[in-house]
Symmetry: C2
Subunit: 692 residues, 2 copies
Amino acid sequence: MNSNLWLYIGIGCGLGSIAMALVYYRWVIRQEPGTEKAVQIASWIKDGASTYLKMLYRALIAVAMVLVIVLGIIFSGDPARPLHGVYTAAAFGFGALCSALAGWLGMSIAVKANVRTSTACGRSLGQGFNVAYKAGAVMGLAMVGVAVFGMSLLYLIFHDAEIVLGFSFGASSLALLAKAGGGIYTKTADIAADLTGKVELGIPEDDPRNPAVIADNVGDNVGDVAGMGADIFDSYVAATVASMLLGTSFAATGSIGMQYAILPLILCIVGIVSSLIGLQFVKVGPDGKPGKALNFGTVFSCVVFFVLATILFVVVNALAGETVFNYGALIATMSGLLISIIIGFTTDYFTNDEYRPVRNVAEISASGTGLTIITGFSHGLISIAPALIGIVIATLTSYFSAQAFGLPGIYGIGIAAVGMLSLTGIVVSNDAYGPIVDNAKGIAEMSGMSHEVVDTADVLDSAGNTAKAITKGFSISAAALTVLAMYAAYSEVIVKYSGGSFLMNLQDPIVLSGIFLGCIVPPLFSALTMLAVTRNAFTMIEEIRRQFKAEPGILAGTALPDYSRCVGIASLGALRALVFPALLAIVLPLVVGFILGPTALGGFLGGAIFIGVVFALLMSNAGGLWDNAKKYIEAGNCGGPGSEAHKAAVVGDTVGDPFKDTAGPSLNTLITVMSLVSSLFAPLIAQYHLFG
Amino acid sequence: MNSNLWLYIGIGCGLGSIAMALVYYRWVIRQEPGTEKAVQIASWIKDGASTYLKMLYRALIAVAMVLVIVLGIIFSGDPARPLHGVYTAAAFGFGALCSALAGWLGMSIAVKANVRTSTACGRSLGQGFNVAYKAGAVMGLAMVGVAVFGMSLLYLIFHDAEIVLGFSFGASSLALLAKAGGGIYTKTADIAADLTGKVELGIPEDDPRNPAVIADNVGDNVGDVAGMGADIFDSYVAATVASMLLGTSFAATGSIGMQYAILPLILCIVGIVSSLIGLQFVKVGPDGKPGKALNFGTVFSCVVFFVLATILFVVVNALAGETVFNYGALIATMSGLLISIIIGFTTDYFTNDEYRPVRNVAEISASGTGLTIITGFSHGLISIAPALIGIVIATLTSYFSAQAFGLPGIYGIGIAAVGMLSLTGIVVSNDAYGPIVDNAKGIAEMSGMSHEVVDTADVLDSAGNTAKAITKGFSISAAALTVLAMYAAYSEVIVKYSGGSFLMNLQDPIVLSGIFLGCIVPPLFSALTMLAVTRNAFTMIEEIRRQFKAEPGILAGTALPDYSRCVGIASLGALRALVFPALLAIVLPLVVGFILGPTALGGFLGGAIFIGVVFALLMSNAGGLWDNAKKYIEAGNCGGPGSEAHKAAVVGDTVGDPFKDTAGPSLNTLITVMSLVSSLFAPLIAQYHLFG
């Protein structure tokens, strides 16, 4: 099999996906932007988002440059590979650049699509949906496009998966900052806007008199579009690279052929094609149910992927006249994909108001806020179980099915993670749709569009919430399987460079100590980001009060508030708050590795993964549940808006917001970054460490 | 060295400790009971507690009998040890009996000491303290007494640590039910009393018109005296047995002498003597600070233990003319003890209103309930770090200090756990003091004693809270180290019976799957107990409303409410809610072990331990923090009682209550029971399992 051919296809496919994203981009901006007032509001949001993104990217460039230099120096020490440092550093920079580029493209279309979606809602639900969904697809396609393009190109040039690891680390470092920063930003603005607007003054959520309202709408974009996109992007790249590393490593020992090193990339290509096909079928039917359209797209792409991947295996093997691609790998891929879909829908049970958990919380809210919190938290705790059982099934199935067909079992786990993430294109499209319609609804309200338009936008918005919940469940499970694969890759690298066997024995006190230390990181990271949210919200609340006091015309509606100051506070606060948690993620694994040694670091990663996955599931699901319990009450149930139950549910939502949008989803990226740092530095840690 | 001599000393020392408990018992009941009204109220509490205990023990007898029969049958299959089943079953029954006996003794004095403490408070703070503390000591001394008596007796008869394991399992099973049941009971009553009394009717906390008020006071006893006592008792026994198992196992291979199998028991004896000495010095000084007296007792006993243990090692070695007890074991013991004290005091930082976390939460409460919850939860997340770092230090120090002196490192970890728990006598005394003074304050208020008496009782009560926080931090860390030792013991048993080597490799998908499955259990257990609390609280609230409606004289103060119905609801509800979680703890490890095999079970235990410790710390500390933030505001800070901040803090406390009193502390016992079940069944699991 000519592997270079596949790499050229990868480059072409990546570029094709980017081109398709640009086609959608052009289509969206050609849509009618709408009334002057709506355009004005949208431009404030756009400017706010640009302000934040500029500050973020400026900070990121500084961080990336430092890391490029550090990596360049550290990895140049090996006389056998004098240029390895330069290559790794370049790959890192390239990864960071690709991730930033995709995020920027997604954001820039989102802030243009929001107003066009509200305007299209004036024509029909279907048209509104179409604008928002195509804009979401820009993000999805751009993301998988740059990822596959970048990985194929690097592997074509260097034929070394360790260099591609540098690319992945670059993408993930950027993702961590974008995700956590966006998460802090969005909740800062949200809490400040709610506490001053809804609570203190009793004005509606998207009231233009509130100086924080633009920051709040910007937050949806930077948190949910740029942040979530970056999060899935980094799992996508990391899963592919981990499997490539495993493939390379097993191929080096002769136990499998070299074609398995690039099979992960080939599966990504099949995934992109399937997503592109699936996207064409996402249309709101005559029944007007956008949620159904979104879910149909995902399931349909899944079927397409299954068919295409099977054809690929059969055709390649038939053409070659031998088993080029073992069918064990196909089963492993499919088990990953299937389980990810199942986990996504299970998450829905805990966060959808059609089922018991959300209703239970809504009903109990009438009896007091304390019970809202305890009950929601308890259901969040229970929701951990099905996802973890799913991960266990995917792990065991992929491992043993690969093994049964003569492939290394651990390679099967890696391939299952790739399978889970193969449909990233369409999953991110669905997800980016959410904040766009959320914004569209806000703009429709703020610019005084008719009730029908606002209601139409609201229908689109509710569908976005379910898609979002499913994506989160999906991305957490995918991250879990990805880090398991990366974990295995870490071991392989350690074995390769230490020259001996490498064992992480649970009876070994060094490993146990590593695990306990690893258990500290995800809770600490969550706490730091959540405390940053409350701290920044307070700064913003003071600014809002100052503006109301200095210019009474604002409340009267005769003067405009200074939106940009709130945007500035949220932006600067988020970036400042990021420094320490991000350092934790990068520096702690190195400290543990270089001091306590590679086995302790293995334990450390393990501890961080176990606790990280558990907390990510708990926080995302409990947060989603509280959010929807509040919405369920607002829809007129359990006493309806204004009732005691509603007040309690609002508090539940305030608690849930930083859970589900700040701390919870950042944890995936946190554990991915920690795993990547460890694998990247494994060659050095294997040789230099104080103890262990 | 004559090991039988030490076992006789153990029996004597155990009986001596029980005798001393009885002496204190007699002293307490001879104190002046007080006014007729106070005695009347106390008798309601006493009756309520008896109702619950009778129901609990009846249920426990049923459970214990089933388990006795099951154990008897299962363990009789080995033709080489035909009577092993009978012995194990008998030891199990004996363990359950001892645990029940100690719990009953502690409870029965607590419900007599409460009214005597309030009355003594009328004379002086010092006298009030004395009565409550001596009553607490009854619990502490009875507990360690029966434990050391039981273990010494069984080992003397059978000379087989596996039989003593049965004793430990009996004690722990009972502890799990007592702890979780008590935790559900106490918060059911607390929430129902608060929601109807304080919130709906605006009557004070301990108002005799509230039908739930007696159930609430009973709750303090069954939750905090019987429950917490059982919790520490079970760690105490489990740590000792785990170390005995390790000692026996290493002695069998000839790597250490048989004296190390009973060294854990000898350390317990030294601990009892040290506690008895320490108890004599716990007196409130002329400055009137009961908190200082409690802490002084702990630290002083620690010093006594250090001196006595050192003398013991030196004298025994000198008398024998050779190294009977290796000094590595002494260092390991001391490292455990020291770290436990340090962790206890660190916990205090997060829950004491003199430091930043509590004040931060109190201050932020003025801005809304959501922020109270987020901030408190975040500080709880951070509080995990110092405790885990302490556990790591204790693990590494004890392992490597044992190894440096030529002992097996893992035995050092076991001995460190015993060291941590050696002062259980005085720690439980401090802890049982808390609910007694809490009750005393309630009785003083309800029976209309003077303001000075209530204030004196209040001073005693605040000191109890700090002691309680320290005990919880201490008991969680001790449980962590205990299960690590039990974990090692499990491996040893598996190795012994499978005849091969046994490896729990973190790269093995079976182990990883076990870990992920283990991660499910503690959150699920917490959720089930907390949901039971809210469910039962609702049943009770309905009953309270029914009583108010049926007899208007209750609210007017002319008719007495029917306290016993609320007591009955809390009792029955708690016991019913226990069945499923308790089954989880016992059955799940067996399912995993017999189906997925011993390595998966090893991973499963690991996962449960990591997540269990993290959640136990989070929930206990966040709960304690919210409780004290509320009290800090009630003391007149941040707006004082009745302010918005106070309302928010009350909600925080409502959330914190089931965190810290129901779910959090039960988790220690849960992981201990799971570890014990696994070790007990390890001989069978090693031989019979489907996969792995």
